[in-house]
């Protein structure tokens, strides 16, 4: 073949490579690749599979810790939780497929993350979902973003996406019998064109039974098990997630895949039964880039080669080419590398579960990925050139221009509401979709199946009971608006808040997984945001002593040049030695003392106004600096709450987040026991603007309640840890009352406030 001409230009473009990348392929092979080989490079070198824009930077994340048994690089991270048990943890995005077909996109996202977990030999025990959509109701754009406002059609589309995604996640999780125990959702203009759907899964495994995704043992047979292979999603997830949305998205539509949760359930049971036998050398799920990725990753991790013949691959459709078979992203399939001689045992297990299990090839020692079609070699490339030697870019980065303008905002310039307006503002915030009760979502998820969920959705974190008497706390967090205003701080807050949420239920954070959702890495501003985010996460992880066990990067969340906010989503895992010590946010008994742990106004007056829900909902602006985060203060606060928990002093705990102190207090009332669904608090001791005290989102604060007699003990602990401890007032029966020097600011029946908060999402969704 001659020098690449115009005919060839189309060649690399068709598989999503650049000309330089194509030349690199030729150099690595020492020849021109054939069409199939080029297709292999196309998917394996896609952003989605190769992490080519992020790989160099992700190395900055701290990944070591005493509890980390498996760090990044495998299908999931694994954390030691004591008693011989471990947790496999992973988070993944399914943004692009969900934007095209919300129900199937989200459902197959759940399927994919489940496979990542049971691939390790772990039984999936919980799912969480972190979602971002555009606004559910029409409205103007806030000042400070370049995203357009929301018209009626756009709002209807957003509701359609939201409803479809929630149903997709629910149906898949419910059918497979894995409880969806928590998550989060935000609504912002920037997610209208590009919704985000991140799903986290946690699995339980004996620490000495971890299975690796490795093609070990030359001569071992390679089995493909589960669903038959169709033309689903060829160039689907991998290419979709590697290029921004354009009008051409329409053409990609046949790439949508349909999930089969029943098949997945059978796969889970069969694979876990199989892994009990010790007849397997390695297991890997088939995800993006299908067989190609599973084969090259397993071979690469083991330093081996693989040879498969596509004629053996069971097909759902006729006339499929080797290219289609190798690149198909059909769901619910697994690759199993079986120890030679144990084939019959393995086949019997899959037969019992009614699943196909077909030998398609074997492990070789020559480091090549060799694809045969009826015995004839149709592709042959060194495995490493598809994986380790894939390109890695240090793309140019530059601080975005918009930052100067949005940060010029001065909180003091805001008109100060009259005291009699504050109750109305509280009601508006409680009704904001970013604050309102999420029951509309989590009621659609079976969050109780497996009867391990001992703290149901609605608290700061979910708690599962595990082993004998221990508990695992799980939460996700990530405020993209904060990251838009300052990605470093926003990312650090995401880590800190996720950890704080876990701490608020009495658990010690032991590790995190994450999903980084960004616009196009080819834009220097986006790359700058990405760097800053990584650095912010790093700083928070180091300060709080929490290792990163893995994660996922999703770039190209943009449409026609307008991208999503930089949105890191943190999935936190916490451990309670004694599950009976778990804390809940609700007040327990009238007369208990209500305390605020942490500095009431953060680092100073006006802290936490920038980027707040108050600023957006009431003043129509997205501006300022996000709340400041003093990592030392955060670490002290978390230590104090955990110390008070061990001492058995706290009756309730809930951190302040979107909506600030006033919303946090209201939520403690809503979750209160009968007769303890109110509070009478006073801001008399606090100085500063009332709207800021009530609604600013200063970090590192927790609302707690204690028996009056235990207050001194709590104060002592707080003092020892160096954490401010302000007595706010008392738990009351059924009203939320906020007083100040001048008189009563808020005096509302809890039930009335709760109605506003509870009805907001159901009302928007009809």
């Amino acid at each position: 073949m001659g020098a690449p001409g115009t005919a060839q230009a189309a060649r690399w473009k068709q598989v999503g490579l650049t000309e330089a990348e194509y030349r690199r392929v030729v150099e690595l092979l020492g020849r021109e690749p054939n069409d199939l080989e080029l297709g292999l490079y196309g998917v394996m070198w896609s952003e989605h599979c190769s992490y080519k824009s992020s790989r160099l930077h992700l190395k900055r994340l701290p990944t070591e810790g005493e509890r980390v048994l498996v760090g990044p690089g495998e299908n999931a991270g694994v954390l030691d939780i004591g008693g011989g048990l471990a947790l496999a943890v992973r988070c993944e995005s399914h943004n692009h497929p969900s934007a095209i077909e919300p129900y199937q996109g989200a459902a197959t996202g759940v399927g994919g993350i489940l496979r990542d977990i049971f691939t390790m030999g772990a039984r999936p025990v919980a799912l969480l979902d972190s979602l971002r959509f555009g606004p559910l109701a029409p409205g103007p754009a806030p000042r400070g973003t370049d995203h357009p406002g929301t018209d009626a059609g756009r709002a209807a589309r957003n509701r359609y996406l939201f409803a479809g995604v929630v149903k997709g996640i629910g149906d898949y999780g419910n059918c497979t019998g894995i409880p969806t125990v928590g998550g989060e959702v935000y609504f912002e203009e920037c997610y209208s064109e590009n919704p985000l759907v991140n799903v986290m899964c946690v699995g339980l495994i004996r620490a000495d039974r971890i299975v690796r995704g490795r093609a070990e043992g030359v001569g071992n047979p390679i089995y493909l098990v589960g669903a038959k292979t169709g033309r689903d999603g060829i160039h689907g997830a991998s290419l979709l997630a590697s290029q921004e949305f354009t009008e051409a998205a329409d053409e990609m539509r046949p790439a949508v895949q349909v999930g089969d949760p029943f098949m997945e359930k059978l796969l889970i049971e069969a694979c876990l039964e199989l892994m009990e036998t010790d007849a397997v050398a390695g297991v890997n799920d088939l995800g993006a880039a299908g067989l190609t990725s599973a084969l090259s990753e397993t071979a690469s991790r083991a330093g081996n080669g693989v040879e498969v013949d596509v004629v053996f691959v069971p097909r759902r459709e006729e006339g499929m080419t080797p290219y289609e078979v190798m690149l198909s992203e059909s769901q619910e399939r697994m690759l199993v590398i079986v120890k030679r001689g144990r084939e019959a045992e393995v086949e019997a297990i899959f037969r019992k579960w009614g699943l196909d299990a077909t030998p398609i090839g074997r492990v070789t020692g020559d480091g090549m990925l060799r694809v045969l079609d009826g015995g004839r070699v149709v592709a042959e490339v060194p495995v490493r050139t598809l994986t380790a030697e894939a390109p890695a870019y240090d793309r140019p980065a530059e601080q975005p221009a918009y930052l100067d303008a949005v940060r010029a905002f001065d909180p003091e310039s805001l008109p100060e509401p009259r005291p009699d307006e504050l109750a109305g503002i509280l009601r508006r915030l409680l009704a904001s979709p970013n604050v309102a009760n999420r029951g509309w979502i989590y009621r659609q998820y079976d969050h109780m199946v497996r009867t391990s969920t001992v703290l149901l959705p609605g608290a700061d974190a979910a708690v599962l009971r595990v082993g004998s008497g221990a508990g695992v706390a799980l939460a996700t967090d990530g405020n993209g608006r904060y990251c838009h205003l300052d990605p470093f701080t926003g990312a650090a807050i995401a880590v800190a808040e996720a950890a704080r949420n876990v701490v608020c239920v009495g658990a010690r954070p032991i590790g995190l997984t994450n999903c980084l959702n960004f616009a196009s890495p080819e834009r220097p501003e986006v790359m700058w945001q990405f760097h800053q985010t990584i650095e912010g996460m790093r700083a928070a992880c180091l300060a709080l002593g929490i290792p990163v066990t893995g994660g996922n990067v999703s770039f190209y969340n943009e449409t026609l040049g307008r991208g999503v906010y930089p949105t890191p989503v943190i999935g936190m895992v916490g451990l309670l030695e004694d599950v009976e010590q778990r804390l809940t946010p609700g007040f327990k008994e009238a007369g208990d003392v209500v305390v605020l742990l942490g500095a009431p106004d953060g680092v100073g007056p006006g802290d936490g106004v920038g980027g707040s829900e108050y600023l957006k909902v009431v003043h129509g602006r997205v501006a300022g600096w996000p709340p400041a985060l003093d990592l030392g203060a955060e670490a002290r606060l978390q230590r104090a709450v955990l110390a008070a928990t061990s001492a058995g002093v706290l009756r309730s705990a809930h951190d302040t987040s979107e909506g600030g102190l006033a919303v946090a207090l209201a939520e403690c009332c809503f979750a209160g026991e009968p007769g303890a669904r109110g509070a009478e608090v006073s801001l008399r001791e606090l100085s500063g603007r009332l709207d800021f005290l009530l609604f600013a989102e200063a970090q590192s604060r927790v609302v707690a309640s204690v028996r009056p007699g235990d207050l001194p003990k709590l104060q002592e602990i707080a003092e020892r840890e160096g954490v401010p401890c302000t007595v706010l007032g008392r738990v009351a029966a059924d009203r939320l009352t906020v007083l100040t020097v001048g008189g009563t600011l808020i005096d509302e029946e809890t039930a009335r406030l709760e109605e506003v908060w509870r009805e907001a999402l159901p009302c928007s969704m009809g």
Partner: protein
Amino acid sequence: MWRAEIRVRLKKGVLDPQGAAVERSLAALGYQGVAGVRVGKLLELTIDAPGREEAERWVDEMCRRLLANPVIEEYAFDLREAVP
């Protein structure tokens, strides 16, 4: 008044887990010669339109906008005049 019978089917090539499950179940019940089972939707509705042409246009529009999911489904329909 027109009565429309709308048939919504999964596009060719799109996986139909329900159809596959029904096919396996039929085989287990002893119906060996059954193949190609596909499960779709059947929608029926009455529409008040001045004439067949309008009824047709409206039903077609409804299918595109709501009743079928163009990403994975295709549709077809019949109309017959109904006594109100």
